[in-house]
Subunit: 182 residues, 2 copies
Amino acid sequence: MGGMREPLRELVNCGLPQALEVMGERWAFMILRASFNGLHHFEEFLSELGIARNILSNRLAKLVEHGILKRDSCADDRRKVEYRLTEKGFDLLPSMLALRQWGQKYSVECVENPVLVDERDRLPIGPVSILAHDGRILGPHDLWLSAREQVGIRTDGSHAEPTETVGRGDVVDLISKKAAAI
Amino acid sequence: MGGMREPLRELVNCGLPQALEVMGERWAFMILRASFNGLHHFEEFLSELGIARNILSNRLAKLVEHGILKRDSCADDRRKVEYRLTEKGFDLLPSMLALRQWGQKYSVECVENPVLVDERDRLPIGPVSILAHDGRILGPHDLWLSAREQVGIRTDGSHAEPTETVGRGDVVDLISKKAAAI
DNA sequence: GCAACTGGTTTCGAATCGAAACTTTAGAGG
DNA sequence: CCTCTAAAGTTTCGATTCGAAACCAGTTGC
């Protein structure tokens, strides 16, 4: 498909910057992880992560503001405040795990214990993956950018692009070529 | 199984902080995304993202240092430098997409055009997912933390824990209970 | 009433970010 | 060879953010 590559500056207009606005800040993912691990209180986060008091306060407020955590005073002891994940917060689990797995894969010491397993058979989970609509696992070379109105249509008349998709380095160019359709 | 929750400060000793050391910095993911989209040169990144010159220089150096990008002088024009994703860099695609999809899901305006599709049938890809070893898609409630040496063993004699796993809020506690096994 | 606990705010020095100017190396043209 | 320009950085300096420590304010338990 014609490779003009033109503007493509609308790149900035996708979900990534939105996500990074909150989760791109220092400590955001660590706090999220602590939440996933069952921490709910200010002082717990404080002692668990080595974060500064004011920064933690700031980050928790921002996470609440963005609807990732919700803040409730404990009924029984109104000194205490509970921070809990919302649905939106839970939806960050794949992002968090993908990042974690990547970090694990490429760090020498990192034995991972305890191991995150499937609750059903207690076997370790697999890698977080990009899936096709039908569940096939997709790699970088299986991806294509398609104009919104041409979704589902294979527009290759002249020669088959897919065979162009050889070697990982090409993937990016294939993607970017199609991106000119913005 | 007992839920002592004790130290668990070894949380910090997993892949996440490792990953965040590089990718937690401002702009890191945006640069990565630009790379995935086929940008290779300093001035391209510079004009595409709205990043400052010195910061871009700094970030690229750090990404190279961490083996996410590799830096090569162009043979034909030795003024030019090429930044290209390494294998390690490509392995960040699931993280990046997961983040992007999350941002998209929770932002009002974000129509996503062009759409990332499966190259085979040109249908939009599904959500980046946590998979079991056999490919089943796992949600937060399907996860369990198991001591390394007990992987594959269901240690529930008395009563079935899985039924405890009701409602999302409980997941985190289940996880953290098991985390005491560190 | 008073000490202790929880969850903050304030303050202030250190590190980081970002815009703009400056530097360096390499090709292009004459 | 000499100049002009492009590419990729560096430097500089003001503005922002981070982080440690001190301070503050409601609760609760005694």
